[in-house]
Amino acid sequence: MTRVYPYLRPPADVVTTGPWSRLTPDGSELLPDTLLDWDYSTTLSLHRPVTVDGLRLRQLSGLAEDAEVDLSVQWYSTSSLLRGQAWRLTLPVDDAFEAPVDFRLPGDDLGGTLELVTNVVLRAPGSGRSQAAARRAGSVLWSDRQRVLLEGDNTLFPIATADFHDLPYPTGAGWYLHIDEDLEGAALGSILLLVNERHEVVMRAVEAAASPTEADRRVLSTLRADVLRSLVERALTDEDLTEETDHPVGSLGALLTTVVRNAFPAFSMEALRRERQTAPALFSSRLQETAQLLVGP
């Protein structure tokens, strides 16, 4: 959806940005889409090069040269729904001004998907501005957004082990994928893969997941395929879930939609629902194929 701003905004090219990077013990690396090694105790050291035409920016926003303008970075977390400011710098009236963004972001308030929003904001409008120019402090003149999934699969599939004798699930089952009902709820906390401590074969494979034997690999492949099947089935049996529904980023609804889209990019949800009902065996085979059940290493 395009946002309508009630004031003049400059063209996008008044700001030039480079990619986000993060500092690691081994040096600097481009910020990936997913941070597999993140947890709450991680402090991210993030940086990106930014160049701003401070004079052109003011002129094309209808602002006077004495207008005070800042470059700032805001963070937003989809699991905690919290937001805050990570970094800020006052922009001088110079074109081609280099403003290297550089800050540390503690993990306490984060989780799910992290959004990094780089903004150019008005701090004070100054004198002699155009009638169409922004006048309220904090007005966003330029903006750019990047998303990064924290924790990767660990977020989406927290795993716990339990004795199924104590749980309302079949005692002899290998695992149970718990999925909450609320599609708007954060994916983190909505899904939990429970592995039955009584099931020696499955437990051995899960514990050896970092360096599995050939037998463990087959078990893990079956488990992964079944997790995918459970998620796809959950999505298809919920009539409220459609491609058109706009679920919040990081929500269970958004996750399920993405899982189905990635698993079956050539099919609409409606087509999948129809096939699941009228040709369940074919649908089951299709799931095996997309999950790569017992395929490869």
């Binding site: 946002r3 701003y5 009630p6 004031y7 947890d39 709450y40 105790s41 991680t42 800042d70 700032s72 805001q74 937003y76 977390s77 699991s79 905690s80 729904l81 919290l82 937001r83 805050g84 400011q85 800020r88 993990g107 306490d108 308030d109 984060l110 989780g111 799910g112 903004n119 904001v121 701090r123 309220r136 402090a137 904090g138 007005s139 966003v140 924790e151 660990n154 927290p158 795993i159 716990a160 082990t161 339990a162 004795d163 104590d166 749980l167 309302p168 718990h178 909450d180 009902e181 609320d182 709820g185 954060a186 983190l188 906390g189 939990l192 429970l194 919040p248």
Partner: protein, 262 residues
């Protein structure tokens, strides 16, 4: 390091809730446990809470509850004080980070396993969302932790001084807008800072607050509140609140005669 709490999943939580609705507070006191066979720890970062810590947490909550009249009915004001003290206690003592506190089944464990007697005393015959892990904004314990988290000021001195600014119903309005303005602690704290000084012109607090929140939400689409200095943010929130109170007050005055005619 974050402390991880046991998660009581939906089926087990619903089963306990159905049973507990039939029991008295005294009977529920005998049902509390430090662990539950259906509760699981998720494998995310942090260390597991110990049984000793859970036991101490229960003891501390009971102490506050007894001051508020537990297990008797108590007065309404005592329950307000109970909520404020518990909000601070949970936030200071649980060792939770926000990401973990957003995981709803941990709150179901506290309500139904560790503190069933106090939970059903605070909300007698509660609807499910007060004790199950379905809605943090309504949960007997979860909403209090979040209230403290959103209103705690960054410095240590009188860190929780803003907790009692809004009543429960008023704070619910803010919390319900968690995805828009309720996620900005800077903005929520500022609203709490300026709220007592707003002249509401005789209009009910809740009405003004709802209108202010709507206005701030709309502004938030084009204003980066996080980027403002304390003074700038204070001025903007004050202006919005004053504008809202004046408008609602004028509307109420204008509506008076028409109502009288009718």
């Amino acid at each position: 390091m974050s402390v991880l709490y046991p998660r009581l999943l939906g089926d087990a939580a619903r089963g306990l809730h159905q049973k507990y609705l039939q029991l008295s507070v005294a009977e529920l006191s005998g049902r509390h446990e430090l662990r539950h066979p259906s509760a699981v720890f998720a494998a995310t970062g942090g260390r597991r809470v110990t049984l000793d810590e859970l036991d101490r947490l229960r003891g501390d909550v009971l102490e506050v509850a007894m001051r508020a009249g537990f297990p008797g009915e108590g007065r309404r004001q005592e329950r307000v004080t109970f909520d404020l003290e518990i909000a601070q206690l949970l936030h200071e003592r649980c060792g939770l980070v926000a990401g973990e506190a957003a995981v709803r089944p941990i709150w179901a464990f506290l309500a139904l396993v560790l503190l069933p007697d106090v939970s059903y005393w605070r909300y007698p015959r509660p609807p499910g969302d007060r004790v199950l892990g379905t809605d943090i904004t309504r949960h007997v314990w979860g909403r209090l932790w979040w209230r403290a988290h959103l209103l705690a000021v960054p410095q240590q001195y009188r860190r929780y001084r803003l907790l009692d600014t809004f009543g429960e119903a008023a704070f619910d309005q803010i919390f319900a807008r968690r995805k828009s303005i309720g996620g900005s602690r800077t903005l929520v704290r500022m609203l709490a800072e300026v709220w007592p000084s707003i002249d509401r012109g005789g209009v009910a607090e809740r009405d003004v607050l709802i209108d202010v929140l709507k206005r701030l939400s709309r502004l938030g689409a084009v204003i980066d509140f996080e980027s403002l200095d304390f003074d700038q943010l204070q001025r903007q929130v004050q202006d919005v609140a004053a504008e809202s109170a004046a408008l609602l007050s004028a509307r109420a005055l204008g509506a008076g005669p028409r109502h009288a005619e009718a």
